[in-house]
Amino acid sequence: MAYWIASSPHNHIQDKTSALMRLVIYATIPGIIAQWYFFGWGNLIQIGLATVTALIAEFLVLSLREKNIKEQLFDGSAILTAVLIGISIPALAPWWVSVLGALFAIAIVKQLYGGLGHNPFNPAMAAYVMLLISFPVQMTLWQPPLSLMHHQLDFVNTLSVIFTNFTLDGYSVEQLRTHIDGFTMATPLDTVKTALTMGKTVEEAMTSPVIGEYFSVGWQWINAAFLLGGFVLIYKKAISWVTPASFLASIFVCSFIAFMVSPDTNTSTMFHWFSGATMLGAFFILTDPVSGATSVKGRIVFAALAGFLVFIIRKYGGYPDAVAFAVLLCNMAAPLIDQFTRPRTYGHQ
């Protein structure tokens, strides 16, 4: 008779890390659908490319490290990283951008630092920043919303652009981005930033067609969809509500103060919330447990710092959006934040 010996506790929740990862991936679906709806197939293709690359890279590194491939390859972390990269990079960026990004994220940022649980930086954001700095042109090939484009961009054409830089009809990316009135359409954040540097007021900048009726055509809905996905995660207790709340509140406060001080040179709080990668960052990037702070207090500080940095960089930095930079900076600060936000142990002063 064999007696089974184990250490307490004997019962256990049946949740698993891989299930958690899967849930987060599922929660990105509303946002991806919104992206597809407003911007076409580009990001889906990028997600696919990044995922395949990430899995291959993960497989190779895991075999080199002689790890349990079966267990770790499909724990969802690599796929989640790839999905986030695919969502983040410009839809019409050349294929090698997402491949390089996924490769960098998995092989260098994640595995070289020790694999799951050991990476100090968020792999997706580190890859994004690497790409943005290394390939600024390709990384700013932001596609305008389909509704504003005068060329039809179906799946095959998108594929063609990504792999050859030209549609089947021979249009280049630059041509695709050109508005019917002859100017190149940028992202709303970029548009406003450019307008402000040209001495225009925010109100004037807001008249751009990419802004549309509310805050930005397409982007606002994508952000809303990610917000929805985020609520699901909070509801499912996959993430703590503290981080996104602190992050959004921080952006809100910063932008609100700035807006009150100078409405002409500062965009509104809601514009900050619903453009760029704000919601993606709040619910899917900053909540990455590995590279973030761990205690509740630490998370509040961590996310608030990120929100502040996003605002500062958006306002004063050279890049229109700032979530990736802010996240990386906060990743660096996380161990320090943890150090200073340790909870008081029961029975200790």
């Binding site: 064999a2 250490s7 307490s8 506790p9 004997h10 929740i13 799951l116 050991h118 761990t294 008081r344």
Partner: protein, 858 residues
């Protein structure tokens, strides 16, 4: 305090941090009454079932005991007795596996029930309120009651606190899943539980009594409410169900809002907590004089066909309970003692029920599956969210894996109550609590080692100081003894004169030593064709006693050419100086007095050399023994080698005698040991060598060889070793006598005699006749004396070597002295020359505790 009561009356409680809601699974047993199980075939009663110390056994195998009869008695306050749960015979008292996570064995009483269940005499107390506090506490102590909630802390210690108690908290939370033992006890024996609480009330006199119970036990709540209606002092606090509400610190926080400071007992806050089961046992003990011999055990789990609460006698093997509840035969068994959160799995089912056993859990495979594979921590922080001690489990885990005990201590690892909430929620399935347990054990172990090392250091330093002190005392003593002797010698009696002469001899020796140290070379022997040299040197040493007389005997006969006798005596006292001596027949001796002898040869006589050595060493116990070496001698082993080679006609006669005597005395009053090694080698006319060695205590070897007419070879090897160890010597006397004689008649006669004793004496006589050329005799004798406790060591070595060479002979004597004690002598003779070599060695060691005694020479 008032606000606490106000809040409680309003049904508002505080909250502790974290906590979890695992599946309760109490439905398995909660609707069935407590069953009494059949008497098992045997009971196993570990004599220690509580925190503290085991009681002293007062029964022996074969004894017949009655139910309730104590099996151990308590001699120290922290001990708790055990009692016979039923009447029967003590089968044996042996090591038996006990209820411990590591499956340890401990001393247990094996009781074979006789089935009659006969009680010892009991004294029912009608009205316990008439008893005073001390009597009540004594009754609790004698009943063997230890905390029944899990830890098993002796209850009489806990209730005997001097502190002023504000709150007596009765822990009825029973927060662990599956367990319903307290629930059922309260439902069925509410009155008894409340009686127990009242007894505690009388002992502790608290301001308020709070019963903390989770809201998932409505029937127990009703039953208690019914009982406490008329007692305002007792407040029933129905708290929300959350694990681990039943933790002492957690329940205190919930009910009073206070936190027990780390490392402090709750009584310092004026709070004492007792388990409901303990209250019931107290009532039983005080009122009906029933010691703790049974308890309610929840036997549960979906693997059982009939999970139920049972009254189990202490000592009942788990196997019996499982059978009662119909545990199916299956290959893979998973039995947990305690709940699923904090219980431990059992290595087998012979483990007995003890005072702290509240649950036996036999889950089905589906219910509690095998552990999932641990994967990497992703720092999700869920563990920190549920930790009731507000620790950072994941950070602790990193440091535990890195064995960083400093950080672990800093992160308050020792405040972990091992409730298992963190490991329960961990999505990476890391066995966090297990890591903490290992780290805690390692840190405790390290602390013990540190303490040990510190103690060892102190001991070492104390010892050093003591040795230093002893040394000084010894020197002082010697000084006094020397003064006393001087005074005695000057007294003018005959004995004193004798002593004086001995001192004079010693002085002469010292002078010689000085001369040698200043560069005088050892003796060289020159041969003059016809000259005859007869040199006899006799020395005597007298050290402490006045009984030494130097014997020097030198006889020359007419044609004796050369007679050289060298006698050396060395005396060392290592406490003062260390010396190394080298000696060989014709060599140098360092640092020891040497009296060179010049030998003159006459025409026919060539060389007669006689070397006698005597060494005496005195070693202080802690010192390394000095080295005495001859020729190529390295350290402690001394080697004296003499080789005798002959020319054409030379013969060799060698006689080697060794005598070693060692004596170690540790604590003896006085020991006398004598070792005598005598070696004689006589060659007559044509060679006759006889070596004789006589050693007293152990070994004796004597070899005599006689040669034919022309005497070729005579070798005699005699070794004698004597060792003696005696313990506890007050004073030791050891005598070693090594005597070696080598006499060559006709043409050479060498007599070597070595007498060793603290007082060394060496006499060498070498006689050569006309044709005698060489006579060599080497005799060595060593004597060592060591004092057992390092007070004094005296080591004496006397070596005497004589070598007489006749005509054309060379003599080399080789002898190894000491440890090995090997001597080889070869002697070759040629026709006319005779060689007689006699080597005698004697070693004697002596250890004496207080080596102040004088040595005598025979």
């Amino acid at each position: 305090m008032e606000t606490v009561i106000e809040r409680i009356e309003q049904g508002r409680f505080w909250q502790f941090h974290g906590g979890i809601h695992p599946p309760e699974m109490k439905f398995l047993t909660t609707n069935k009454p407590i069953r009494t199980v059949s008497l098992p075939q045997r009971l196993v009663l570990p004599i220690q079932q509580h925190i503290g110390e085991a009681g002293e056994l007062i029964v022996k195998p074969g004894d017949y005991v009655l139910k309730g009869q104590p099996l151990t008695k308590t001699t120290v306050p922290l001990a708790v007795p055990i009692h016979a749960p039923t009447s029967g015979t003590i089968a044996s008292i042996e090591n038996h596996i006990i209820a411990h996570p590591s499956g340890l064995n401990e001393m247990s009483v094996i009781l074979m029930p006789d089935g009659e269940d006969r009680w010892r005499e009991r004294h029912i107390v009608e009205n316990y309120s008439q008893l005073d506090k001390n009597t009540l506490v004594e009754k609790i102590a004698n009943a063997g009651i230890a905390g029944m909630g899990g830890a098993g802390f002796p209850t009489h210690i806990k209730v005997n606190t001097k502190a002023k108690i504000d709150f007596l908290i009765i822990n009825a939370a029973e927060c662990e899943p599956y367990i319903t033992a307290d629930d059922l006890l309260m439902r069925e024996h509410a009155a008894s539980v409340i009686e127990g609480i009242k007894i505690l009330d009388k002992i502790l006199e608290p301001a308020f009594i709070l019963i903390g119970i989770e809201d998932n036990k409505p029937e127990a709540i009703d039953a208690l409410n019914h009982e406490i209606k008329q007692f305002d002092k007792i407040k029933l606090c129905v708290v929300p169900t959350k694990y681990p509400t039943g933790g002492e610190k957690q329940l205190i926080k919930i009910l009073t809002g206070k936190e027990v400071p780390s490392g402090v007992l709750p009584s310092s806050l004026g709070i004492v907590m007792q388990n409901v089961g303990t209250c019931h046992a107290i009532a039983e003990a005080v009122i009906s004089d029933t010691p703790l011999i049974k308890r309610v055990v929840t036997v549960t789990g979906q693997a059982l066909e009939k999970p139920q609460n049972v009254w189990a006698l202490l000592g009942t093997p788990i196997e019996h309970l499982l059978q009662e509840c119909q545990y199916p035969q299956q290959q893979k068994r998973h039995i947990i003692m305690g709940g699923p959160m904090m219980g431990f799995s059992l290595p087998n089912t012979q483990v007995p029920v003890v005072k702290t056993t509240n649950c036996i859990l036999a889950p089905s495979e589906k219910e509690i599956p095998d552990a999932n594979q641990e994967i990497e921590c992703i720092r999700c922080g869920q563990c920190a969210e549920v930790c009731p001690a507000q620790l950072l489990p994941q950070e602790l885990q990193w440091h535990a894996k890195a064995k960083d005990s400093e950080q672990l201590t800093k992160l308050n690892l020792f405040d972990c109550i091992e409730c298992g909430a963190c490991a329960y929620v961990c999505p990476s399935h890391i066995p966090l609590v297990h890591y903490y347990r290992v780290s805690k054990a390692e840190i405790r172990q390290q602390k013990l080692l540190d303490i040990k090392a510190e103690k060892a250091k102190q001991r070492f330093e104390a010892r050093k100081a003591r040795l230093e002190r002893d040394k000084k005392a010894r020197e002082e003593k010697h000084k006094k003894a020397a003064e006393a002797r001087r005074a005695r010698m000057n007294s003018g009696t005959e004995e004193a004169n004798k002593e004086k002469s001995a001192v004079a001899a010693a002085l002469a020796r010292v002078q010689a030593k000085k001369a040698q140290q200043s560069g005088v070379q050892a003796n060289t022997t020159n041969d003059d064709k016809k000259s005859q040299v007869a040199d006899a040197i006799a020395r005597a040493k007298a050290k402490k006693a006045g009984q030494s007389a130097p014997n020097g005997d030198a006889g020359d006969d007419k044609k004796q050419q050369v007679a050289a006798a060298i006698a050396r005596a060395k005396a060392k006292k290592l406490a003062a100086k260390e010396q190394a001596n080298d000696d060989s027949a014709e060599e140098n001796i360092n640092a020891v007095e040497t009296k060179p002898t010049s030998a003159q040869d006459d025409k026919k006589a060539r060389v007669a050399a006689a070397v006698a050595r005597a060494k005496a060493k005195k070693l202080a116990a802690q010192e390394q023994p000095s080295d005495v070496g001859t020729d190529d001698t390295g350290k402690s082993p001394e080697t004296i080698s003499s080789t005798a080679e002959d020319a054409k006609k030379a013969r060799i006669a060698a006689a080697v005698a060794k005598a070693k005597a060692k004596k170690l005395a540790a604590n003896t009053e006085s020991d006398d040991q004598r070792t005598e090694g005598e070696a004689e080698a006589s060659t007559k006319d044509k060679d006759d060598v006889m070596a004789e060695a006589i050693v007293e205590p152990p070994q004796e070897t004597s070899t005599s060889t006689q040669d034919d007419k022309k005497a070729r070879i005579a070798a005699a090897v005699a070794k004698a070793k004597a060792k003696k160890l005696a313990a506890n010597t007050g004073s030791d006397d050891q005598r070693t006598e090594g005597e070696a004689e080598a006499s060559t008649k006709d043409k050479a006669e060498v007599t070597a005699e070595a007498v060793v004793e603290p007082m060394q004496e060496t006499s060498t006589s070498a006689q050569d006749d006309k044709k005698a050329r060489i006579a060599a005799a080497v005799a060595k004798a060593k004597a060592k004396k060591q004092a057992a406790n390092a007070d004094t060591d005296v080591k004496q070595v006397e070596g005497e070597a004589k070598a007489s060479t006749k005509d054309k002979t060379n003599v080399t004597a080789e002898a190894d002295v000491e440890a090995a004690g090997e001597t080889s002598t070869s002697a070759q003779d040629d026709k006319k020359a005779r060689i007689a070599a006699a080597v005698a060695k004697a070693k004697a060691k002596k250890l004496a505790e207080k080596a102040q005694k004088d040595n005598q020479t025979s």
